[in-house]
């Protein structure tokens, strides 16, 4: 095939290709294009090549700039609507105890979340707590102290600065003491993990203590032993807020215990020995089925859902 014929084919292919993408191609013109495409294989090849190039150009800097521009516009719209700083609580359960009837101490405030619920709360001193699913804290604040007892689950604390009143979170026999910062406390069956997003935090029990700064975390097991202080390299701080979970060398028992707080239907183990298997995984809650399928491939753990919606894991 001669070069001039090639060039003529490309020229015609470009014209027809442009005509369709202009959005101004009528039915008669479409028929004309189809006739031309049928006439020679080379016509269809050139035409297809132009379309491939056009679609691949979407992934060029033009596409990237368009995406970034749209994000910038959306961000401006959000600020304009005044949505910054909004705190929404899905379900709030506040119960006042009367155990301090012989003193002038205000009764502690109690915050509880239901299964599958994540909620934000504002404390009297302006600090904020975000509670994960099925979590439970008691808060005691007066002009001398700011004390929280975390009884269950996961919580993020954004603590307002107050040098005169340290903010202390007690979890089992572990105390987390701060002056003003953002940190996360995960209470598990056999451990307590504290991770700091901003500021300084002191974690202590009767035998040991650690001072943590931003991006550092420590785990205290049920024997009161502290792990080495770890540095969180990736952006996984408090991922459970977005219903994303990252488990590193974690037993299936602990994984199911966490997931069961965030799901309405339970996951149960047909045999306890399944719970002892250790897994590294990262997934969103709505990807649970994929995680279970992967367990089947990697550990030969089968799963099924019974008539009541409970997921069973079995060997």
């Amino acid at each position: 095939m001669s070069t001039s014929y090639d060039e003529a084919v490309w020229q015609q292919a470009r014209e027809y290709h442009q005509l369709i993408h202009s959005g101004m191609c009528d039915v008669a013109q479409q028929q004309q294009i189809k006739t031309w495409l049928r006439a020679d294989e080379r016509h269809a090849e050139c035409f297809r090549e132009l379309e491939v190039l056009r679609r691949q150009t979407r992934y060029s800097s033009l596409g990237e700039e368009a995406f970034l521009k749209q994000k910038a516009e959306e961000s401006t719209d959000k600020k304009r609507n005044g949505t910054l700083g909004a705190i929404a609580a899905c379900v709030v359960c506040v119960v006042l105890f009367f155990t301090y009837q012989y003193t002038n101490e205000p009764a502690p405030l109690e915050f509880v979340t239901a299964r599958g619920e994540i909620a934000d709360f504002m404390l009297p001193d302006g600090s904020q707590i975000t509670l994960g699913a099925k979590s439970h804290v008691l808060v005691n604040q007066n002009d001398r102290i700011r004390a929280v007892t975390q009884l269950a689950g996961d919580a993020i604390y954004k603590v307002t600065k107050d040098a005169q009143r340290p903010f202390v979170v007690s979890v089992d026999d572990v105390d987390v003491r701060v002056l003003g910062t953002v940190f996360e406390v995960l209470k598990r069956k056999t451990s307590v993990k504290v991770e700091v997003a901003e500021g300084h935090v002191n974690v202590s029990n009767h035998a040991n203590y650690e001072d943590l700064t931003a991006s550092e975390f420590v785990t205290v097991n049920d024997h009161g032993e502290f792990s080495e202080v770890g540095k969180q390299r990736s952006r996984t701080f408090a991922n459970w807020r977005n219903q994303r979970f990252s488990f590193e060398n974690t037993t299936i028992a602990e994984i199911t215990e966490v997931l069961n707080r965030y799901r309405q239907d339970s996951i149960r183990l047909a045999h306890p020995e399944i719970g002892e298997l250790v897994v590294t995984a990262s997934f969103r809650l709505n990807q649970l089925n994929q995680f279970l399928d992967a367990l089947q491939v990697s550990h030969d753990i089968k799963w099924h859902i019974d008539g009541t919606g409970v997921i069973w894991l079995q060997k």
């Binding site: 490309w10 470009r14 442009q18 369709i20 993408h21 202009s22 959005g23 101004m24 191609c25 479409q30 294009i33 189809k34 495409l37 049928r38 269809a44 035409f47 297809r48 090549e49 132009l50 379309e51 491939v52 190039l53 056009r54 679609r55 691949q56 150009t57 979407r58 992934y59 060029s60 800097s61 033009l62 596409g63 990237e64 700039e65 368009a66 995406f67 970034l68 749209q70 994000k71 961000s75 390299r233 990736s234 952006r235 996984t236 991922n239 977005n242 994303r244 897994v279 590294t280 995984a281 990262s282 997934f283 969103r284 990807q287 994929q290 995680f291 992967a294 367990l295 990697s298």
Partner: protein, 191 residues
């Protein structure tokens, strides 16, 4: 989602590159939505699917490009003209376009570099109109309404830009050389 990486190389790559990738993506594309970690995971998944079928010389660059393309996919608009094209392909039994997925596009590093080189010579007007046509999927009438430009002017501008793009790629494919690109770029960069 990535669970129990079986290949030792993949495991090491994931451990080493995952944190850096998340930081890079967040720095470039923001905190989300879409969540940079979600995108990073999808990119690793696509790499794990492809790396057994073909050699990928630079896994980190490939994974980053796929992640970037997945962000761009979030901007996809319904392109009626593309739907017409797909119908024509189907009716005439022309192979459908599959090369435009995030990962397939990421494999074509040389081709992508040439596309970028051609785009770098576009005038602002050409970039604007090409973005409205190709990225946003707008018809020339819609572009005319938004920009106030005559349709004929829009057509000429886009035609010149697309001709430059396609001639750049064709020259590279037929000659196996990028030396001629400079000549073509000088010739085709006007409106």
């Amino acid at each position: 989602m990535i669970v129990l990486m079986k290949s030792k190389f993949f495991d090491q790559l994931y451990q080493q590159y995952w944190p850096e990738l998340c930081v890079r993506l967040q720095a470039r594309f923001g905190a989300g939505p879409p969540d940079p970690e979600d995108i990073a995971q999808q990119a690793f998944c696509k790499y794990s699917e492809l790396c057994n079928e073909q050699r990928i010389d630079n896994p980190k660059a490939f994974i980053y490009t796929v992640a970037r393309n997945l962000f761009i996919d979030q901007f996809r608009r319904i392109d009626k003209q593309q739907q017409v094209m797909d119908q024509i392909f189907e009716e005439l039994d022309i192979a459908p376009v599959y090369e435009d997925s995030a990962e397939q596009s990421a494999l074509q590093t040389e081709r992508n570099a040439l596309i970028e080189k051609a785009i770098s010579t576009f005038s602002e007007k050409q970039k604007q109109l090409m973005t409205m046509s190709i990225i946003e999927g707008k018809s020339y009438r819609q572009i005319a309404q938004e920009t106030g430009l005559p349709i004929a002017n829009i057509s000429r501008t886009i035609t010149a830009a697309q001709t430059l793009l396609d001639q750049t790629i064709r020259t590279w494919e037929y000659d196996g050389s990028v030396d001629n690109v400079t000549y073509l770029l000088k010739e085709g960069s006007g409106q």
